[in-house]
Symmetry: C2
DNA sequence: TTCAAGGATGGTAGCGCTACCATCGTCGAA
DNA sequence: TTCGACGATGGTAGCGCTACCATCCTTGAA
């Protein structure tokens, strides 16, 4: 694939040097540190590059300089809006640096994460960004030996491989649930899909509050390993109501489920928030617009992405800040869907 | 960044060879063509690799073999669910090949696309996947000279750089609009955000039908260059109704807008589809679940991603199929939101 | 005028890997 | 028994670039 005949093919730096009548190293410098080359030569070189259509070879550069400008990123999903925004933040955080993002999709699988880590490590990246704190032991070992800055994102924990930026999902779950309790709901259900470690911790937060309030009932919990979607939200709410017809509120593990739950209520003429209260998690754009508007927990995923890259850049430039674990928090957005008169 | 001392640092293939008591080339072969190495040596080598924690260096490999297993992909957005699914398809299409995806985000900018193309080309990728057919002349020239398979995705057109897979947005726009006309709507509006080339063509399809039916009125068209969102859908519908209170249907350029429009109608107690009909584009999961369910045009974006990679693989393995332009079509999904009694 | 200091430029020697071409058995046919 | 064929293994020479050090020239102080 993309095979070139040995010796043949694209112009190299030597071709440019010859044409510009300078040494190869000067061309190399003109490209990387223009200040150190006189303007005359710089122009000649630029002309030669233009005429030849020269494109430097990153592989050769990386090999020779034993450095690479790649930041390898592992996320569990690209279709999940939450991670899509994290990635957007990562890109924006790059700014004018020469860093490049290399994305890997683990599909919520530890094994796959391990495999991708191996693949990416063979690129000798400048830095590694991984999602969550539940790496397999092997993956964690690889991260520790990577010899480059590592950032774990989306969660906080007490045992970072290197750096960490995120928030506490457990606290997030507690906060929403506490709100529902305070609003007077008594038969508060939980519906969750996929149930990755972060979902689990949100559910644990739910359970902690509900138990403390003496309202816990396992029949109020409905989960499935199936990936989350709006249609699944509808189904899960239906199941939940079938199991516990007296359900009077649901904490939906994410906003897609919440939207699906809302639609189900609309369709079944169950008044929201009168008959049933609904809360989601992440606070996607649509939550505020929905009718009724939906209570959710605003997570700062874009900011997490941006700041993760900032941390990487700081670490690479030697000015690594002291704090290795950053908690960006979250924000409960109370809206119509849980405001019982 | 990620600098290693010359000579120092990670174990190399020579270290593995020494430890296993074999030649370097044999280690190389054991890794790439295990069949050609005896089982004894293969085991010794595997042990040595394990003990040393050896990870091959992709850069060196790419340089030495003048080949690289990277497929560079340029998409305009990663947060747009449509492209997120294309990317998912691309990943799934990879299967067991050794290809790796390298994602770039053009932010709907031709200039940025050009810049990224330059960056990616310096990696000498095995193949290139770009979105749409509206590359700048410079970008198109680079694609033509890339010397590797190129796939343009998401649209079809008559002048492919190399290969192409997608569908006609113009026809998509025509189809929805024709449906609205057939359902008896007479004051059919169009609302659109971002208005990238594909949106423009969908709008052109709308206009063609509406003009043919003698229903065209510029006041029925509401667009903005702002990126699309659910909340924007709500606003745009409000604007549209302010301009043309007799609006009786809207073709929303995408599903997010359609959902926002629906919520606005709910909130303003405008019956859907009785007072106003709503149609979207792309058919995201939520369209079917919404109440009322929303008419949309199902686009096969996941399939486009998968097949784009399949085309790349076929081209790379020499079995390039004859058809260079593939139209995967689309499917009108008629639902409650446009079914006037 | 001399000479150290510093900027601009170039030559050489790899970076870690694989293509290419030996070399060295081993085995079966003659 | 001999010899060619073939499979397994290894040595050498780069791939295109940059680190490192040498060289040359300019500049300004003594």
């Amino acid at each position: 694939m993309a095979r070139r005949r040995r010796g043949g093919g694209k112009p190299t730096i030597a071709d440019v040097a010859r044409r510009a009548g300078v040494g190869a190293i000067t061309v190399s410098r003109a490209l990387r540190e223009p200040d150190r080359v006189s303007e005359d030569l710089r122009n000649q070189i630029a002309t030669a590059i233009e005429e030849l259509g020269y494109v430097p070879d990153r592989n050769a550069r990386a090999l020779a300089s034993a450095r690479d400008d790649i930041v390898a990123v592992l996320v569990p999903s690209l279709t999940n809006n939450v991670f899509a925004e994290v990635v957007r933040g990562l890109y924006d955080g790059l700014g004018d640096s020469h860093l490049q993002l290399h994305l890997g999709n683990t599909h919520y699988s530890g094994i796959e994460e391990e495999r991708l880590l191996r693949v990416f490590l063979s690129q000798r990246p400048s830095a590694l960004v991984v999602s969550g704190i539940d790496q397999t032991p092997a993956a964690r070992a690889m991260l520790q030996k990577a010899g480059c800055p590592v950032v774990q994102i989306m969660e906080t924990g007490s045992n970072p491989v290197d750096m960490m930026i995120g928030f506490s999902h457990f606290e997030g779950g507690r906060t929403v649930t506490r709100h529902l309790v305070e609003m007077g709901y008594r038969r508060i259900g939980f519906i969750g899909a996929r149930m990755d470690p972060r979902s689990q911790r949100r559910m644990a937060g739910y359970r902690a509050v509900v138990e403390e309030a003496g309202l816990y009932d396992p029949r109020l919990v409905t989960t499935t390993p199936t990936p989350s979607s709006v249609s699944l939200g509808r189904e899960l709410l239906r199941h939940a109501l079938a199991k516990s017809p007296d359900l009077d509120a649901v904490f939906c593990n994410n906003d897609d489920l919440a939207l699906g739950a809302l639609f189900e209520c609309n369709r079944s003429a169950l008044a929201v928030p009168g008959r049933i209260g609904i809360a989601g998690f992440n606070d996607l754009d649509m939550m505020e617009v929905a009718f009724p508007s939906l209570t959710s927990v605003r997570t700062h995923r874009y900011e997490i992405g941006r700041r993760a890259v900032a941390m990487v850049r700081a670490a690479l430039s030697g000015t690594r800040q002291p704090e290795h674990v950053v908690d960006v928090g979250f924000e409960l957005k109370i809206r119509e869907s849980t405001s019982r008169k």
